[in-house]
Structures are given as structure tokens and as C-alpha cells.
């Protein structure tokens, strides 16, 4: 079973790195912003860190710092420009950002390896992933209980009401965007360390789609949902890949569809738990009651 163990470890590693990326996307969603930009932040972090690891012999921990910093800076700039766009326009803009990022990566051949990509010299190990994810979770758990957490939830529920309550909506969203950038950058470095080889397609639409699926299907109303979502949707496929060759994507798609239709709140859904607890014997609450909490335009 040695091979099975390797496989499981590998699946766990990808799940952990995926969880960090999913948390990055969760951060923006928390403040009511639907953003795909995590992948762009990850690309910035990964390529910056890899370049420094190769040229300056940076170790993993330093690389993570650099990657987080890089992601954060880009997020700050992108946030300045993009946050004022309304809901679905921001989604479009961040998709565009991913496309532009790829073009930049392709054309900065000297720094990124261009379309050829480059080998990542430093390997990431399971325990390092666990440490990083644990730190990220701690930070988010603290944030959830802080004033920021309350403000973010209020902003997500209804930005107009939040503003009248004196919450600085724009600043909350900008802060969420920057934290998302830092997490994205860190996640990108981890992902690069796992892949051992990155090219412009390593951080592209496919990854963006996977990450957003992790968040939504895991449960977009609690940070822990993103972690669970990542385990199910990035870890499991690595393991399942071995047994299903062609046609695997059809199964993936069916799974996405089924969960989205039958568990709209995701796997981790505090609202539904509360409802189950409160109203076990009473008439089920109308589904629409929760809808205002969804991202609005």
C-alpha cells in the first residue's frame, strides 16, 4: 500500500494548498465582493517567489512572506481600481484580471520563464502546509470575532444599510481585498511548491473555477466551509484521478451540479444548522428568507 499512501499524502497536500486559496476567495465574499482575483494574486506570489528562490536562493518561509507581500500589493492596486464596480461587474473585471495576468506572465519571459514555465526549486512538505493553513485559519477565526467580522457580514447583507449604520463599507471591502491578496499570494507559493513546475496555465481559468467551487460548495457563509470544500474538490480529485481516465470531468460536473442544486448553502451551512435546530417541528422556513444574504448586484 506504499503507493496508496503516497497518493493520499499527495491528495492531502493539494487539499491544504487549495484551502488557503479558497480562504482567499472567501475573504472577499465575506465582504460581499464576488472576485475571481485569487488566481491572479496566486500567480503574482508564485512567480515572484519562484524567481527569488531560483536567483537569490530564498527558502520556503521567506518565499511565503514575499509571495504574500506580492499578492497583497497587487490586491491593493487592483482593489483601488475595481472595488467600486458593482457585484457582477466586479466578477467580470476579475476574470479579465486573470486573463491579463496570464498575458503578463507569458511576456515577462526573463522573470517568469514565459510560455515555457519554470521549475520550482523548493519543495513544500505536508507539515509546512498544515502550519500555514493553521495560521490562516487562526487569523480568520480571530477576524470573525472582531469588529471587522461584524462589519463585513453587515456589508455583505446590505451595503446601503451597513453604510447608514456608520460602517465604512469601502474600507471594509478594501481591507478584505488586501487580506485576500495576501492569502492568495501565500497559496500561490504553496501551490507552486507542490506542482514543482509552473507555467502561465498553472494559474488560469481552471484554477479560478476550482477555487470558487470549493468556496461555494463548501459553504460560503463560514470560513470553515472553504476548508471542507477544498478537501472535497481539490484533494479528492487528485486521489480519484487514478481510477477514472476519460470522462472524469463529466462526473466532476455532475457532482458540482448535484451539490449546488440540493445543498445550495454548501456543505458547511450555519444557517441551515440553525434552522434545523430552531425549527425542527415547526414549518420549514421559506427558502427565500436567506436570499438577501447572497451576493447582490
Amino acid at each position: 500500500m506504499g503507493q496508496q499512501l503516497t497518493l493520499l499524502v499527495s491528495a492531502a497536500e493539494f487539499a491544504l494548498a487549495g484551502a488557503v486559496l479558497a480562504l482567499s476567495t472567501y475573504m472577499t465574499l465575506w465582504a460581499g465582493l464576488l472576485s475571481f482575483a485569487t488566481v491572479s494574486f496566486a500567480a503574482v506570489g508564485a512567480f515572484t517567489a519562484t524567481h527569488l528562490m531560483t536567483s537569490a536562493g530564498l527558502g520556503l518561509w521567506a518565499a511565503l512572506l514575499v509571495g504574500g507581500l506580492g499578492g497583497g500589493v497587487v490586491a491593493a492596486v487592483a482593489g483601488l481600481l475595481l472595488i467600486r464596480l458593482a457585484g457582477h461587474w466586479l466578477a467580470l473585471a476579475t476574470v479579465a484580471l486573470i486573463l491579463v495576468t496570464r498575458v503578463v506572465v507569458v511576456n515577462l519571459g526573463g522573470l517568469t520563464g514565459g510560455s515555457q514555465g519554470e521549475v520550482v526549486p523548493v519543495e513544500v512538505h505536508l507539515w509546512q502546509l498544515i502550519v500555514v493553513l493553521a495560521v490562516a485559519c487562526l487569523v480568520l477565526a480571530r477576524l470573525a470575532r472582531s469588529r471587522f467580522g461584524t462589519a463585513a457580514v453587515a456589508t455583505r447583507e446590505d451595503p446601503t444599510v451597513a453604510a447608514t449604520m456608520g460602517i465604512p463599507v469601502r474600507r471594509v471591502q478594501a481591507a478584505a481585498f488586501v487580506i485576500s491578496g495576501v492569502l492568495g499570494g501565500v497559496g500561490g507559493v504553496l501551490q507552486a511548491g507542490l506542482l514543482r513546475y509552473i507555467d502561465p496555465d498553472s494559474f488560469y481559468i481552471d484554477l479560478a473555477v476550482t477555487v470558487i467551487a470549493c468556496v461555494v460548495l463548501g459553504g460560503a457563509y463560514h470560513w470553515f466551509g472553504s476548508v471542507i470544500g477544498a478537501v472535497v474538490f481539490t484533494g479528492l480529485p487528485v486521489y480519484v484521478n487514478q481510477f477514472i481516465g476519460q470522462g472524469q470531468a463529466i462526473i466532476d460536473g455532475a457532482l458540482l451540479l448535484i451539490i449546488m442544486i440540493w445543498m445550495p448553502g454548501g456543505l458547511v451551512d450555519p444557517l441551515r444548522w440553525r434552522r434545523l435546530r430552531d425549527g425542527r417541528r415547526t414549518a420549514p422556513a421559506p427558502e427565500t428568507a436567506r436570499e438577501p444574504a447572497e451576493v447582490r448586484s
Binding site: 464596480l85 458593482a86 466578477a91 479579465a96 511576456n107 476519460q246 463529466i250
Partner: protein, 294 residues
């Protein structure tokens, strides 16, 4: 002369993007769905059109109709499978529909890969109108002219349907406020299915025109999705004329930038333009009133 030649090539390429963008824009503005499965309508439209020509021996115009019909049917099916269950739950569905459209995107893509054996396909010689129009040193293919004409006609037709018919008014009303539309006597289901079918038809036709002069594979729709996406944002999606304009603009920009600047910056220019437009004029270059938004 080379400039004019490349301008025509750009317009012909842009015609395909325009058709795709029109479909994308109709769905986005009436249903507010960011439909990532849209490229698959084009892929399947092209595959069926190819089968119609290569295996069933049908003439090219019929194949175009087949591609269009398959696109429309795929769009209606996707809408019913992926979007209707969420819609019936009510509320804002942007996030959920992105996920379900992704689900359909990857499934339909894999199915297309299996159906074609991932092989490159090409319309057999002689099945596509092969005429070459030469004048004043220019060489224009008959298929290029057909694509441009069709893009203009289809855009105009969809524009007329949306703006000047009762059905179109119903579609716009549903996009604006479903509850109010129902109170006003509109059957939202009919309106939504019509909008989906129109979008799918335009996209299926885009797929056929994208495929007819070249070879293509199951991933045809992916490239089209990104370019069509750029076109629709640049042109503005409140009005199909804006989306079509965006499509033509992207086609011309791509071909001319490859000729006169550098091929490697072709995407940088397209998507950079896209980002600039989003930041500076989020409603698109053509100032239009967006459907369905107050």
C-alpha cells in the same frame, strides 16, 4: 492594400466574436447569468454541423442551420438543467449559476472530447463554399463574406425581436423584475426559454463559422468564450448592437495588432483593453441603457 486586406480578415474574425457576444449579452442582461458553459454551444454546434456535412452529406447551408439549432437546443437544455432549479428558488443567483454553468461547461467539454476522439476536425474540401473573391488585389473568401453578413443580420434580427416585439418586451420585463412581469401578464418561463434559445442559436452559428475555414477540436468553445467575453464587456451588453460592435472591434484589433505590432502582444492588447474599459467605462464603450437594471 495589406491594411485593407487585414481589415477584412479582422472583420470576418470579428463576425464570429460578434455572434458569440450577442448570445452572451442576451443571457447576461436578461437573466444576469455569467454563463461559462456558453462556449460549449459553439463547440457542439460546430461538431454537429461537421457531422451533418461529413457524414450525412448535407449541404453547407443546412449544416449552418443544424449548428444553429443544436446551439439553441443546448442552451435550452443547459438552462433547464443548470439554471432553472436555482431560479425556482428565487433570489439572487449569480454565485450559484456560475457554479452550475461551470458544471455543465466541464461535462459538455469532456463529452465533446470523447465524441470526437480529441481529433482535429475539418470540413471536408468542397463542402464549404470555396469561392474566392478577388478585386483590386484583395482576396476575400466567400465564407468570410457569409460570416460578416450573417453576423449583421442576426444581430439586427435579435435587436428587433428584443426591442420591437411583444415577446422581446416580455423578455426585457422578466430581466428587469420577474415578479412585476408576472403581474403584468408575462409568462416568465416562455420569455426565459426564448432568450436562452436566441442566445444559443447565435452562439451555435458562431461555432460553425469559427470552424468552417480551419481545423478545430473540442476546445473550440474555450477560446471563443474568452474572446467573446472580452467583446461583450468592451461593447457593452445592454444592447446587442453594442455586443456586436465589441466583437467586430476585437477581431480587427487582433488581426491588425498581429500584423503591425507583435503577435505575442495580441492577447495583451485585447484583454488590457478589456480591463481599461471595465475600469473607465464599466457599461461598455457604447453608452447604452442596460436591460434589467434600474
Amino acid at each position: 492594400m495589406l491594411l485593407v486586406q487585414q481589415l477584412i480578415n479582422g472583420l470576418a474574425l470579428g463576425a464570429v466574436y460578434a455572434l458569440f457576444a450577442v448570445g452572451f449579452g442576451v443571457v447576461f442582461s436578461t437573466m444576469r447569468i455569467l454563463n461559462l458553459a456558453q462556449g460549449m454551444y459553439a463547440t457542439w454546434g460546430a461538431i454537429f454541423a461537421y457531422w451533418a456535412v461529413a457524414h450525412a452529406g448535407l449541404p453547407f447551408p443546412v449544416a449552418c442551420l443544424v449548428g444553429t439549432a443544436i446551439g439553441a437546443m443546448a442552451a435550452v437544455a443547459v438552462d433547464q438543467v443548470a439554471f432553472q432549479p436555482l431560479r425556482s428558488r428565487g433570489g439572487e443567483q449569480l454565485l450559484g449559476t456560475i457554479i452550475t454553468s461551470v458544471a455543465l461547461w466541464i461535462s459538455l467539454r469532456e463529452a465533446a472530447s470523447l465524441a470526437t476522439g480529441a481529433a482535429p476536425l475539418g470540413f471536408p474540401p468542397g463542402t464549404v463554399p470555396g469561392g474566392l473573391i478577388r478585386f483590386a488585389g484583395l482576396r476575400v473568401l466567400a465564407t468570410q463574406v457569409i460570416a460578416i453578413v450573417c453576423a449583421i443580420v442576426v444581430t439586427a434580427a435579435i435587436h428587433v425581436i428584443l426591442r420591437h416585439t411583444r415577446l422581446g418586451a416580455a423578455i426585457r420585463a422578466v430581466g428587469h423584475d420577474r415578479g412585476a412581469a408576472m403581474l403584468g401578464g408575462v409568462n416568465p418561463r416562455v420569455a426565459i426559454l426564448t432568450a436562452a434559445a436566441l442566445a444559443g442559436a447565435a452562439t451555435g452559428l458562431a461555432g460553425v463559422f469559427y470552424a468552417d475555414g480551419q481545423t478545430f477540436t473540442f476546445s473550440l468553445g474555450d477560446g471563443l468564450l474568452l474572446q467573446g467575453f472580452a467583446a461583450v464587456v468592451i461593447g457593452g451588453m445592454g444592447d446587442v448592437r453594442g455586443a456586436a460592435f465589441g466583437g467586430f472591434a476585437i477581431g480587427v484589433v487582433q488581426v491588425l495588432s498581429a500584423q503591425y505590432i507583435s503577435n505575442s502582444f495580441q492577447d495583451a492588447i485585447t484583454f488590457g483593453l478589456l480591463l481599461v474599459v471595465l475600469v473607465v467605462r464599466p457599461r461598455g464603450l457604447l453608452k447604452t441603457v442596460e436591460l434589467g437594471r434600474a
